[in-house]
Symmetry: C2
Subunit: 310 residues, 2 copies
Amino acid sequence: MVTIYFAAGASRWPTYEAPLRRALTEAGLDATLSPDCPDPALVDYIVFAPGGEIEDFTPFTRCKAVLNLWAGVERIVGNPTLTQPLCRMVDPALTAGMVEWVVGHTLRHHLGMDRHIVNPDRVWDPACPPLASERPVTVLGLGALGQQCAQALQALGFPVTGWSRSEKHIPGLQTHHGRDGLQAALAKAQIAVLLLPKTVETENILNAETLAWLPKGAVILNPGRGALIDDAALLAALTSGGIGHATLDVFRVEPLPQDHPFWAHPQVTVTPHVAAETRPLSASRVVVENIRRGEAGEPFLHLVNRVRGY
Amino acid sequence: MVTIYFAAGASRWPTYEAPLRRALTEAGLDATLSPDCPDPALVDYIVFAPGGEIEDFTPFTRCKAVLNLWAGVERIVGNPTLTQPLCRMVDPALTAGMVEWVVGHTLRHHLGMDRHIVNPDRVWDPACPPLASERPVTVLGLGALGQQCAQALQALGFPVTGWSRSEKHIPGLQTHHGRDGLQAALAKAQIAVLLLPKTVETENILNAETLAWLPKGAVILNPGRGALIDDAALLAALTSGGIGHATLDVFRVEPLPQDHPFWAHPQVTVTPHVAAETRPLSASRVVVENIRRGEAGEPFLHLVNRVRGY
């Protein structure tokens, strides 16, 4: 009998209970699953989400793994009481949703759709956009999400450049890395997509200095983490014309406060953290697969490197 | 010496002269090329576009082929004086541009982008769209353009159904055909893409009866031909709520007249015939390849079937 504590917030319990129970049954696992904390010393696995109810992981002495429902772990990875293995969510449905958002908004900006969607003066201007093959896109962050977005954009003909903090070789993708590589990667990006984790090294990676490395009029898509961008520097670059448009899905404070200047800026599009929604059905299968692995003595999937921070 | 008459309109000559001459040189063809009609009895090939200057093809007694710069041939195919072989344009760059427009607008509607692009009330509604895998798309017309759009949509996860007038088998694509098949194809389309040629059989193929076969709230994308849709029936279906939105790139009269109700309707997006722009460089290579084939006695590419009409 495996004891699982659902500590991902009471509001998520109704959404996750049935998918988790179904996945446990499918995996042939005999388990108790509860949103109320059992005796901590008896808990085998914790299903967690940022804002969940545990601050101190010390009492969970038998816990074999903390299974995060989200891809981002920055709000938990630095918790000094968390000595148990921590796993990130890598949900195939989340990845699919992210690819759709990134490809969709890349094509939106590439095709200049906004001037047709809002066209009160009935302007008929048949000027044709260049082909995707003439529109360089740079993806910052080459984890599972970044790689799949890069591939989908390449399949449509966009010349894609990738950047990551440490060196990565990905077949068919031109990559840069490190601080020097960042300037090269941004310098050719007509559209830049931010898919980095939030770490001390990536916070404010787009700031006044690095924004100036982008070509004039470049478009920024941020479905990654709000803290990757220095908000004030971005607003200044948009107003000066250095940056053409920013479509942002994530923010330092969410929901984005009603008085935040992003709402009012004509060159900013706000999407309400919809790019990478965890889907209960597929996420439950990932959580339960890790429980099955733990019980079978197999290595966990998507284990967080605590030094690296993701 | 091959004699080529550029009869595609004086306004296009400055755009096409250099690419055509370059392609002729690359192909090793010794040719004269002029926008002024030489002695018709000496012309070997005619480069043509709708609205071009020839009404009577009878005097071109030696002409081996009429090479159309556009994919659509409906304004020339019925000309009884045209007994020479007629070739359509199948431009790889035109196809790429069409795929970008179709995939981009499909994702736009799928993701519900418009409510984020225009959001004066600063609404933060994190309701997530379904995944592409839960959004059936139907492509009407399975020529080169339709097939490539279907493939690109499938690659992003959309379940795609194809429809064509006559039966077609395309690996990996569920297809219907004929009048009976049309109802089945439309009945499951949350997004319907029109990529049919204009013929007597396809004119007004979307009319009051067939629009009602679509699920309530379906979206129509028409980058094909304006005459495929009965405008009045579409406006009625949009206003009644039967159809959710129409994004239209082609119209019976272009530019779309300023007083046309499509401009004013909140559920219609007008794009100014930009989906499938012929690109001079790649189109010139296609034209010249057919001239090379004609001179070498090889079969022409993209020969129009005069009975079928495309």
